[in-house]
Symmetry: C2
Subunit: 156 residues, 2 copies
Protein backbone atom coordinates (compact mmCIF):
# COMPACT_ATOMS: atom_id res chain seq x y z
CA UNK A 1 0.00 0.00 0.00
CA UNK A 2 1.89 3.03 -1.21
CA UNK A 3 1.40 6.28 -3.04
CA UNK A 4 2.21 6.46 -6.73
CA UNK A 5 5.44 8.23 -7.57
CA UNK A 6 3.37 11.09 -8.93
CA UNK A 7 1.78 11.81 -5.53
CA UNK A 8 5.08 11.42 -3.70
CA UNK A 9 6.87 13.82 -6.06
CA UNK A 10 3.98 16.31 -6.06
CA UNK A 11 4.31 16.60 -2.29
CA UNK A 12 8.08 16.98 -2.55
CA UNK A 13 7.82 19.76 -5.12
CA UNK A 14 5.25 21.62 -3.00
CA UNK A 15 7.50 21.33 0.05
CA UNK A 16 10.48 22.65 -1.86
CA UNK A 17 8.54 25.61 -3.23
CA UNK A 18 6.91 26.26 0.13
CA UNK A 19 10.33 26.73 1.69
CA UNK A 20 11.36 29.43 -0.78
CA UNK A 21 10.65 33.08 0.03
CA UNK A 22 7.29 34.11 -1.44
CA UNK A 23 7.46 34.91 -5.13
CA UNK A 24 10.96 33.53 -5.71
CA UNK A 25 11.37 31.14 -8.58
CA UNK A 26 12.87 27.65 -8.57
CA UNK A 27 13.75 25.44 -11.50
CA UNK A 28 12.84 21.83 -12.04
CA UNK A 29 16.53 20.99 -12.34
CA UNK A 30 17.20 22.54 -8.96
CA UNK A 31 14.43 20.52 -7.31
CA UNK A 32 15.49 17.32 -9.06
CA UNK A 33 19.08 17.88 -7.93
CA UNK A 34 18.19 18.48 -4.31
CA UNK A 35 16.04 15.37 -4.06
CA UNK A 36 18.37 13.32 -6.26
CA UNK A 37 15.54 12.32 -8.60
CA UNK A 38 15.10 12.46 -12.36
CA UNK A 39 14.18 15.76 -13.98
CA UNK A 40 12.05 13.86 -16.48
CA UNK A 41 9.92 12.37 -13.75
CA UNK A 42 9.41 15.79 -12.23
CA UNK A 43 8.31 17.44 -15.51
CA UNK A 44 4.99 15.65 -15.63
CA UNK A 45 4.30 16.31 -11.95
CA UNK A 46 5.11 20.00 -12.29
CA UNK A 47 2.85 20.27 -15.33
CA UNK A 48 0.05 18.70 -13.36
CA UNK A 49 0.63 20.95 -10.34
CA UNK A 50 0.23 23.88 -12.73
CA UNK A 51 -3.01 22.50 -14.14
CA UNK A 52 -4.31 22.10 -10.61
CA UNK A 53 -3.56 25.77 -9.95
CA UNK A 54 -1.12 24.97 -7.14
CA UNK A 55 1.98 26.40 -8.83
CA UNK A 56 2.63 28.96 -11.51
CA UNK A 57 5.26 29.02 -14.20
CA UNK A 58 7.22 32.05 -15.34
CA UNK A 59 8.68 31.45 -18.78
CA UNK A 60 11.97 32.66 -20.17
CA UNK A 61 15.65 32.52 -19.31
CA UNK A 62 15.17 33.67 -15.75
CA UNK A 63 11.94 31.72 -15.47
CA UNK A 64 10.92 29.02 -13.10
CA UNK A 65 8.09 27.86 -10.91
CA UNK A 66 6.64 28.99 -7.60
CA UNK A 67 3.61 28.35 -5.43
CA UNK A 68 0.43 29.97 -6.72
CA UNK A 69 -1.28 29.53 -3.36
CA UNK A 70 -0.09 30.11 0.21
CA UNK A 71 1.04 26.89 1.98
CA UNK A 72 -1.75 27.09 4.55
CA UNK A 73 -4.26 27.02 1.70
CA UNK A 74 -2.96 23.74 0.31
CA UNK A 75 -4.62 20.94 2.32
CA UNK A 76 -2.75 17.64 2.20
CA UNK A 77 -5.91 15.53 1.89
CA UNK A 78 -7.06 17.51 -1.09
CA UNK A 79 -3.65 17.30 -2.75
CA UNK A 80 -3.45 13.54 -2.28
CA UNK A 81 -6.99 13.10 -3.64
CA UNK A 82 -6.03 15.04 -6.77
CA UNK A 83 -2.79 13.20 -7.43
CA UNK A 84 -3.29 9.69 -6.17
CA UNK A 85 -5.05 8.23 -9.16
CA UNK A 86 -5.04 4.73 -7.79
CA UNK A 87 -6.96 4.77 -4.53
CA UNK A 88 -8.26 1.28 -5.24
CA UNK A 89 -7.21 -0.54 -2.09
CA UNK A 90 -8.75 -3.62 -3.71
CA UNK A 91 -9.89 -4.10 -7.29
CA UNK A 92 -13.64 -3.78 -6.63
CA UNK A 93 -13.15 -0.10 -5.73
CA UNK A 94 -13.32 0.46 -9.48
CA UNK A 95 -16.48 -1.18 -10.84
CA UNK A 96 -15.25 -0.55 -14.41
CA UNK A 97 -12.35 -2.98 -14.07
CA UNK A 98 -13.50 -5.18 -11.20
CA UNK A 99 -13.40 -8.93 -11.80
CA UNK A 100 -14.18 -10.11 -8.26
CA UNK A 101 -17.34 -12.20 -8.39
CA UNK A 102 -18.56 -11.35 -4.91
CA UNK A 103 -18.38 -7.55 -5.23
CA UNK A 104 -22.16 -6.95 -5.09
CA UNK A 105 -22.55 -8.72 -1.76
CA UNK A 106 -19.13 -8.25 -0.17
CA UNK A 107 -18.83 -6.35 3.11
CA UNK A 108 -15.06 -5.87 2.77
CA UNK A 109 -15.41 -3.01 0.31
CA UNK A 110 -17.49 -0.96 2.75
CA UNK A 111 -15.02 -1.57 5.57
CA UNK A 112 -12.06 -0.62 3.38
CA UNK A 113 -13.83 2.55 2.26
CA UNK A 114 -14.34 3.38 5.92
CA UNK A 115 -10.64 2.70 6.60
CA UNK A 116 -9.63 4.91 3.67
CA UNK A 117 -11.87 7.58 5.17
CA UNK A 118 -9.89 7.26 8.41
CA UNK A 119 -6.66 7.71 6.45
CA UNK A 120 -7.88 10.77 4.55
CA UNK A 121 -9.45 12.32 7.65
CA UNK A 122 -5.97 12.60 9.15
CA UNK A 123 -4.54 14.20 6.00
CA UNK A 124 -7.46 16.63 5.95
CA UNK A 125 -6.25 18.03 9.26
CA UNK A 126 -2.96 19.24 7.76
CA UNK A 127 -1.81 21.68 5.10
CA UNK A 128 1.47 22.24 3.28
CA UNK A 129 2.28 24.74 6.02
CA UNK A 130 2.55 21.85 8.51
CA UNK A 131 5.15 20.18 6.29
CA UNK A 132 7.38 23.22 6.44
CA UNK A 133 8.02 22.76 10.16
CA UNK A 134 10.72 22.73 11.33
CA UNK A 135 11.49 25.16 8.53
CA UNK A 136 15.08 25.80 9.51
CA UNK A 137 16.20 22.18 9.50
CA UNK A 138 14.32 21.41 6.30
CA UNK A 139 15.69 24.48 4.52
CA UNK A 140 19.23 23.55 5.52
CA UNK A 141 18.85 20.12 3.90
CA UNK A 142 16.85 21.19 0.88
CA UNK A 143 17.79 24.70 -0.19
CA UNK A 144 21.18 25.38 -1.78
CA UNK A 145 22.05 28.21 0.59
CA UNK A 146 20.02 26.96 3.53
CA UNK A 147 18.06 30.19 3.59
CA UNK A 148 15.64 30.41 6.51
CA UNK A 149 12.40 29.00 5.24
CA UNK A 150 10.30 31.12 7.50
CA UNK A 151 11.17 34.30 5.61
CA UNK A 152 9.00 33.09 2.74
CA UNK A 153 6.31 31.83 5.01
CA UNK A 154 5.99 35.15 6.79
CA UNK A 155 5.84 37.10 3.57
CA UNK A 156 2.62 35.38 2.51
Amino acid sequence: MRFTRQTDYALRVLMFLGLRPAGELSTIREIADRYGISENHLMKVVHRLGQEGLIETVRGRQGGIRLAVAPERIPLGDTVRRFEEDMRIVECFDPATNTCAIAPVCALSGILHEALGGFMAVLDRYTLRDLLQPCGALARVLLPDGEPADSGARAR
Copy 2:
Protein backbone atom coordinates in the same frame (compact mmCIF):
# COMPACT_ATOMS: atom_id res chain seq x y z
CA MET B 1 -2.62 3.13 -2.96
CA ARG B 2 -3.74 -0.46 -3.04
CA PHE B 3 -3.18 -3.75 -1.32
CA THR B 4 -0.84 -6.27 -2.88
CA ARG B 5 -2.55 -9.17 -4.62
CA GLN B 6 -1.37 -11.38 -1.75
CA THR B 7 -3.39 -9.43 0.83
CA ASP B 8 -6.44 -9.23 -1.43
CA TYR B 9 -6.40 -12.97 -2.09
CA ALA B 10 -5.73 -13.85 1.54
CA LEU B 11 -8.90 -12.01 2.52
CA ARG B 12 -10.86 -13.73 -0.25
CA VAL B 13 -9.70 -17.19 0.82
CA LEU B 14 -10.59 -16.47 4.44
CA MET B 15 -14.06 -15.28 3.40
CA PHE B 16 -14.64 -18.37 1.31
CA LEU B 17 -13.58 -20.71 4.11
CA GLY B 18 -15.51 -18.71 6.68
CA LEU B 19 -18.71 -19.34 4.73
CA ARG B 20 -18.30 -23.10 4.79
CA PRO B 21 -19.81 -25.13 7.64
CA ALA B 22 -17.25 -25.60 10.41
CA GLY B 23 -14.78 -28.37 9.70
CA GLU B 24 -15.72 -28.85 6.05
CA LEU B 25 -12.88 -28.85 3.57
CA SER B 26 -12.49 -26.78 0.43
CA THR B 27 -9.93 -27.11 -2.33
CA ILE B 28 -7.76 -24.42 -3.83
CA ARG B 29 -9.22 -25.22 -7.25
CA GLU B 30 -12.73 -24.66 -5.94
CA ILE B 31 -11.80 -21.27 -4.49
CA ALA B 32 -9.91 -20.25 -7.63
CA ASP B 33 -12.90 -21.26 -9.76
CA ARG B 34 -15.42 -19.33 -7.73
CA TYR B 35 -13.38 -16.13 -7.76
CA GLY B 36 -12.22 -16.65 -11.33
CA ILE B 37 -8.56 -16.29 -10.38
CA SER B 38 -5.47 -18.39 -11.00
CA GLU B 39 -4.88 -21.46 -8.86
CA ASN B 40 -1.16 -20.75 -8.99
CA HIS B 41 -1.61 -17.35 -7.42
CA LEU B 42 -3.70 -18.86 -4.65
CA MET B 43 -1.16 -21.58 -3.78
CA LYS B 44 1.35 -19.18 -2.26
CA VAL B 45 -1.35 -17.32 -0.35
CA VAL B 46 -2.81 -20.55 1.04
CA HIS B 47 0.64 -21.73 2.10
CA ARG B 48 1.17 -18.46 3.91
CA LEU B 49 -2.26 -18.60 5.59
CA GLY B 50 -1.23 -22.01 6.90
CA GLN B 51 2.08 -20.69 8.22
CA GLU B 52 0.19 -17.94 9.99
CA GLY B 53 -1.99 -20.53 11.68
CA LEU B 54 -5.19 -19.18 10.14
CA ILE B 55 -6.04 -22.25 8.07
CA GLU B 56 -5.21 -25.93 8.28
CA THR B 57 -4.57 -28.42 5.53
CA VAL B 58 -5.80 -32.00 5.40
CA ARG B 59 -3.71 -34.04 2.97
CA GLY B 60 -4.84 -36.84 0.73
CA ARG B 61 -7.41 -37.49 -1.99
CA GLN B 62 -10.30 -36.16 0.06
CA GLY B 63 -8.11 -33.43 1.53
CA GLY B 64 -8.46 -29.72 1.44
CA ILE B 65 -8.20 -26.63 3.58
CA ARG B 66 -10.38 -25.07 6.26
CA LEU B 67 -10.20 -22.33 8.86
CA ALA B 68 -8.08 -23.19 11.89
CA VAL B 69 -9.58 -20.35 13.90
CA ALA B 70 -13.18 -19.14 14.30
CA PRO B 71 -14.02 -16.11 12.10
CA GLU B 72 -14.59 -13.82 15.09
CA ARG B 73 -11.02 -14.56 16.20
CA ILE B 74 -9.50 -13.35 12.93
CA PRO B 75 -9.18 -9.55 13.19
CA LEU B 76 -8.94 -7.79 9.83
CA GLY B 77 -6.30 -5.32 10.98
CA ASP B 78 -4.07 -8.12 12.17
CA THR B 79 -4.53 -10.07 8.94
CA VAL B 80 -3.69 -7.06 6.78
CA ARG B 81 -0.60 -6.32 8.87
CA ARG B 82 0.63 -9.88 8.37
CA PHE B 83 0.04 -10.00 4.63
CA GLU B 84 0.55 -6.49 3.37
CA GLU B 85 4.31 -6.49 3.06
CA ASP B 86 4.46 -3.09 1.44
CA MET B 87 2.96 -0.61 3.86
CA ARG B 88 5.41 2.03 2.65
CA ILE B 89 3.05 4.84 1.69
CA VAL B 90 6.18 6.74 0.66
CA GLU B 91 9.71 5.46 0.27
CA CYS B 92 11.10 6.89 3.52
CA PHE B 93 8.89 4.50 5.51
CA ASP B 94 11.68 1.99 4.90
CA PRO B 95 14.98 3.54 6.01
CA ALA B 96 16.87 0.62 4.44
CA THR B 97 15.89 1.62 0.90
CA ASN B 98 15.02 5.29 1.32
CA THR B 99 16.72 7.72 -1.05
CA CYS B 100 14.81 10.88 -0.15
CA ALA B 101 17.30 13.45 1.06
CA ILE B 102 14.98 15.22 3.47
CA ALA B 103 13.83 12.15 5.41
CA PRO B 104 15.55 13.10 8.70
CA VAL B 105 13.79 16.46 8.92
CA CYS B 106 10.56 15.82 7.00
CA ALA B 107 7.23 16.17 8.77
CA LEU B 108 5.31 14.32 6.04
CA SER B 109 6.42 10.91 7.25
CA GLY B 110 4.95 11.49 10.73
CA ILE B 111 1.66 12.69 9.27
CA LEU B 112 1.44 9.71 6.91
CA HIS B 113 2.17 7.32 9.77
CA GLU B 114 -0.68 8.96 11.68
CA ALA B 115 -2.94 8.56 8.62
CA LEU B 116 -1.97 4.92 8.28
CA GLY B 117 -2.85 4.54 11.95
CA GLY B 118 -6.30 5.94 11.15
CA PHE B 119 -6.68 3.38 8.38
CA MET B 120 -5.62 0.44 10.52
CA ALA B 121 -7.70 1.58 13.49
CA VAL B 122 -10.82 1.04 11.38
CA LEU B 123 -9.71 -2.44 10.31
CA ASP B 124 -8.96 -3.28 13.94
CA ARG B 125 -12.64 -2.85 14.73
CA TYR B 126 -13.67 -5.72 12.45
CA THR B 127 -13.07 -9.47 12.21
CA LEU B 128 -13.63 -12.04 9.50
CA ARG B 129 -17.05 -12.61 11.06
CA ASP B 130 -18.11 -9.13 9.89
CA LEU B 131 -17.20 -10.05 6.31
CA LEU B 132 -19.57 -13.00 6.38
CA GLN B 133 -22.64 -10.75 6.65
CA PRO B 134 -24.98 -10.99 4.89
CA CYS B 135 -24.07 -14.66 4.88
CA GLY B 136 -26.96 -15.80 2.72
CA ALA B 137 -26.29 -13.47 -0.19
CA LEU B 138 -22.55 -14.10 -0.07
CA ALA B 139 -22.97 -17.86 0.11
CA ARG B 140 -25.31 -17.82 -2.87
CA VAL B 141 -22.69 -16.06 -4.98
CA LEU B 142 -19.66 -17.89 -3.68
CA LEU B 143 -20.56 -21.45 -2.72
CA PRO B 144 -21.38 -24.02 -5.39
CA ASP B 145 -24.64 -25.07 -3.79
CA GLY B 146 -25.39 -21.77 -2.12
CA GLU B 147 -25.51 -23.46 1.25
CA PRO B 148 -26.56 -21.12 4.05
CA ALA B 149 -23.35 -19.71 5.40
CA ASP B 150 -24.71 -19.30 8.86
CA SER B 151 -24.82 -23.03 9.46
CA GLY B 152 -21.05 -23.06 9.69
CA ALA B 153 -20.91 -19.88 11.66
CA ARG B 154 -23.28 -21.21 14.29
CA ALA B 155 -21.37 -24.45 14.66
CA ARG B 156 -18.23 -22.66 15.85
